[in-house]
Assembly symmetry: D2
Homo-oligomer: 408 residues x 4
């Protein structure tokens, strides 16, 4: 860290420009709607991450001119401390500011941020917030792509976000196991380099001996589960999962559709045949858990996962490539391609204390009734992934790029 100097400016502008690059392929109309309460308009993502810098850094400078006071209400996501905000379910109705205004808002904040960073006036706490804001924006880059995929998937004629060549199906090795010895292990962020507050404190856990599979579960694997009536045999399912299957009619992963006897899936390049050697994605926790039971295995806990990933060095699977936005063939790396559901509920680590003030709401208040995913996905920006990273979603979520690995 250079105390807010040119490296931070470069880092800041790099993150910011990548968001804009992702939005470039989207028309003003594409950037406006919200296809479900959990998703947000692309325009909203672009404004919200900007508001984050304005709210938590620029507003503390009495010399800063707020771009538009109404944006505090319109683009606050969930920070109760900041005050009243637009209802989440109605984000798709906010047509003004439009895309062009949001771009101007971004430029205004960028200029002020660069000036602040270059001035050397920002103290360490502020610089930490800049880094938090950059990570926050990277997280929203992934959300923006998840949400656009969901939006486009509701269109009967499958719009294309990015053109790409069809994949050439290949071979995947049979699944093997990596064994690990039990005992007391240390987990959690070590404190050097950025990490979210929920990744710490680093602490000890006791693990039994365990093994994790040496690759992700693939679409080919999943088709076997389906062929074996996996979606129709209650014995594999948690009670809430079985209820969800019966209520929703799930009988294949999210975005899959049976067409002319084969399966297709919706991708950011339109509807495509399911590629057998890719990791299965857009499955819920319930499905991942049922698959594992069908396979005579289980999901790893988040700590088993972290211990296992810690032994593998720097190997990465596929992270965000804006020209692809889709996982590749299942390989041996543990981080990348798809987020991996774990057996762990999202709970605070021993001694966890949220940050003071509004940013304390970033993670801590969501620690109930969600499930931890580990790793990263093909729409996670490179550099944003960490083996201590704790992603979390409710058990029935399927719009995440989520898959699974087995444990036993």
């Amino acid at each position: 860290m250079d105390a807010g100097g040119s490296d931070t400016v470069r880092r800041f502008l790099d993150v910011r420009s990548r968001t804009d690059a992702l939005a470039e392929r989207l028309s003003p109309e594409d950037q406006t709607p919200q296809s479900m309460t959990e998703a947000s308009p692309a325009k909203w993502h672009r404004a919200h991450v900007t508001w984050f810098f304005e709210e938590f850094i620029l507003r503390r400078d009495p010399g800063y001119t707020v771009y538009d006071e109404t944006f505090r209400y319109l683009f606050n996501s969930y920070y109760e401390t900041v005050g009243e905000r637009h209802p989440r379910s109605d984000r798709g109705l906010v047509t003004r500011p439009g895309v062009r205004d949001v771009t101007r808002y971004r430029e205004h904040v960028d200029a002020a941020m660069v000036a602040a960073l270059e001035s050397g006036r920002l103290d360490d706490a502020a610089l930490d917030l800049v880094e938090l804001g950059c990570n926050h924006e990277q997280q929203h880059q992934e959300l923006l792509l998840m949400d656009i995929k969901h939006l486009f998937s509701t269109h009967a004629f499958g719009p294309v976000y990015v053109d790409r060549e069809p994949d050439v199906p290949g071979e995947v090795a049979p699944m093997g196991w990596r064994e690990f010895a039990g005992g007391v292990h240390e987990v959690g962020a070590v404190g050097s380099g950025f990490a979210y507050d929920n990744e710490g404190p680093r602490h000890r856990v006791y693990l039994e001996d365990f093994a994790v599979s040496d690759r992700l579960v693939t679409n080919a694997d999943w088709l076997e589960f389906m062929a074996d009536d996996g979606y129709r045999r209650h014995e594999f399912w948690l009670s809430d999962g079985w209820g969800t299957v019966n209520q929703t009619g799930w009988h294949a992963p999210g975005y899959w559709r049976e067409e002319d006897g084969g399966w297709t899936t919706f991708t950011l390049s339109g509807r495509r045949p399911v590629v057998p050697d890719e990791p299965v994605t857009h499955v819920s926790f319930y499905e991942a858990d049922a698959y594992a039971r069908w396979a005579g295995a289980r999901l790893p806990t988040e700590f088993e996962w972290e211990v296992a990933a810690g032994t593998l060095g720097d190997a990465r699977g596929r992270l965000l490539d804006p020209g692809r936005c889709h996982p590749g063939r299942a390989g041996s790396a543990m981080v990348g391609d798809v987020w991996e559901w774990t057996a762990s509920a999202y709970l605070p680590y021993p001694g966890f204390v949220p940050a003071n003030g509004a940013v304390g709401e970033y993670n801590g208040k969501f620690m109930s009734d969600q499930h931890v995913l580990r790793g990263a996905s093909a729409v996670t920006p490179a550099g944003h992934e960490r083996i201590t990273y704790r992603n979390f979603f409710p058990a029935a979520s399927r719009w995440v790029f989520s898959g699974l690995r087995l444990a036993r």
Copy 2:
């Protein structure tokens, strides 16, 4: 009618251009969302009315090149005969075609329609459909404004559709009565000039002696009802109305809000103080009915209304003025400013038979559980109003420009 000649072309192009003029004040973002299931995106309105001409006239010409086959699915509203269609509640998620494509679609269909009209090839049935299509588009001009008003009203900072000077409050005469003798009267469309199928057949009804008020109920009148606890006294309300009031918390007309001790209302020119001498608008049937009972009166039936309006000559209140889009001072005309709830359920006239084919779905299939409104409103295009016109909405609707007149 000139059998599809230049008058029809002029008429067609006039209607078409007025739709575009209404949309000009709206950004692509404004034209995309759907703020409730009953409303539609402006972009959708513009495409749907275009589809109507393509589907019912141009497609019958084997030489016509369909602009885009997917539009039949995307822009069919409710014509079961035409086939599958996009779910009504999800119209706000169709970002493609965008506004620019919709404009091109309109141009394509306009050119083909003008060519067809000028060719003289269209038979009388087709020309009747052209006129139906023009009326259909006028009806959607009103819907487009209703829907934009509703959309903008959900925005915390009240966007302005059209700027206009504030109104200067004036005086309104005390309400008087116009008396009419009972007996057998004829009602319904006479057959010369365009009318919707639901306005006929012309037929006889028996009426008792009756009187209708010589002006609309005003905001000033309504404030008295409110001051007299009108929204809190069950004795004025139909059971379903009382249930609705208790469930929704209604305590003033739609779009009203109490601010600094006074009442404001949302208009297409933004939030404005309630003007006492304007007719009350955005009240539901339930509220209109309760008001009438509070006033010791009742709503007129649609036939009483029609008989009364038939005696008044051509006087018109305010119809659509795109620079205003809001009612004016309550006057003596019966047609204009606000639609008037009647006591009548929307039912077929004796001998009513819907047209053959898909256009038979235009009106007839809605003849249950809706209530008739008569007159026209300040967002009804001039020339679209008729004293036999039967508008209809469910009892709890408030986004219509709807008010009332008393009877006894």
Copy 3:
């Protein structure tokens, strides 16, 4: 009327005892639950009709000792004027008073009523309320049977309310037509004998020439409609009806089930094969309307029905026989077996004014968004039927014993 003398006592006790006779076949458990919001527990019906006499007659006598002050809250149905009341949807949770207490309550009120009637102290207004209370209780006898049928139908093993011999199927004559001349007709209650307020004032209506079918639509007729895909062809259906069919999956009348290739229906004597020559029953307004359109006919208006029924003398179909509780073979009478959906919305007659006080809430406040049924059914107590009687239910109701007759 004998001014409250022995005839009135006899009439009162006769009605009261018939309610108890209907409840005798029901256990305390049977009398407790509420199977849907629109239905009520049998125990509640028995207490509510009793409360009606206590509230509107006995409480006016300062010497009367109220049985239990909490019953005013528990057994008021919908009289806002009387005050707060138990929520309608939760009537099945009121386990106390139990059946035995309700019986004691009935005895207490009966004794007080008989004393009051025999004392000669009741004025004409009070005696009118006694007669209203008797009619009210008869109406609830029908509701009690409708509600028990609905409750029992939810049981997987079909309890029997009353045993009876199976019907021997017979022949029904082909449907013929009775013709009536149009013009000005008088309709509504004439004023001698009891009638509900909603049956008046008697007034003139103008009718076109019309015809009504000389018998009800039978199960055999309905099976033809089903065989001709009547439930799958949108062209016969009102829009709201088609929406209901698609949402609910209706594909046969209420209580019907396909079993071993044949159709059965649930009756108060358990599940039975559908008898072809019986009138179809438990169809909604939407289904009746669709059937009529399929048959190339329509439903009669309530005034056509009344004019037609007025010409037929005293012939009655099957009314309530507690040993049967089910319609018989379709015959020529217009009153009995099943209520007949009409084309008419339930609206006030010209000059209608509800009674003063709480009993004014009996009928008037329901005059929106309901549909008129005429005639009577096989669970209507004999003596309660009238040709001016206006029964009314929402369009989607199917637990009424409701069928139809055609018109053209």
Copy 4:
């Protein structure tokens, strides 16, 4: 265990008779309704626990005569393996069998069970199922009381289940702390004596140093939280908890009501003033968690709780006393009075494998999105409590007798 001999018979009959004793105070009407989906009718509880013995033990004996084959459908709770069953939300509509039939069913099964036990024919697996069935029935004794309390609480005039003297408020010592050293601890059932499958396998966990409060949080404590705007300050709440508070309007524990300036709560002895020195009960996990944060503490994990409770010897608070059914003054024991919410999600222990067959559905399939409670309550039958017992409910549940203890 005496291999199914007289001790087992005595144990079996003892449990069975206690269920009947609890039902004796309930009329047939009281035993019929279901006041919410999560609750069940008392009659259903009595039949379901009986079905458990019939299904899992008696049916395996070819000589056994099933009492009524329909009961398998009516009284199966959630065992998919057993087959189709009555929908949970409609248990209150099953009026037949009535209470008397259920009693006969119980007698039939009791006789067959005693005969089987005395015959010596039951193998160890069957005897384990008898013990499971006894524990199952004890669990339902608690549920029956929870459900009756909920049902009675919906009654406007508060029925009394059991009469008892009012409590004399006393003093409670200020809260102190018990300290425990971290490190590797063993938790889970040891294997001698009955335990549910979810209590094992016994395994090691790593704990940091911790402390738990030496008594439960009392009503007096809770009133301070309320006085300090605990229900209106977002900073204490999990996000889902805050959403629940705003949606439901919670502003005090379940069953509390403000009356004449003081607080009352609904008890099985009717509505009573809140007693300050009793442990707070009927709070949700969300409330417990918010309280802990307000108090500058946290909830203990289930393992911290178990380690702490393991050091305290056999001290028990109040368990089920049918003459009281309500907690007593907060004391120093950790087991009894109210269940204690922990910070732990309900998840399988390492190596957990559910039993084979239908009884494997008893616990395992609920291991997602629920929260662990430890201890026991004033409606838990004595002998059913264990320090390894894992009770579990969703975070928003309030009809459990649930309270909390603090940790740090």
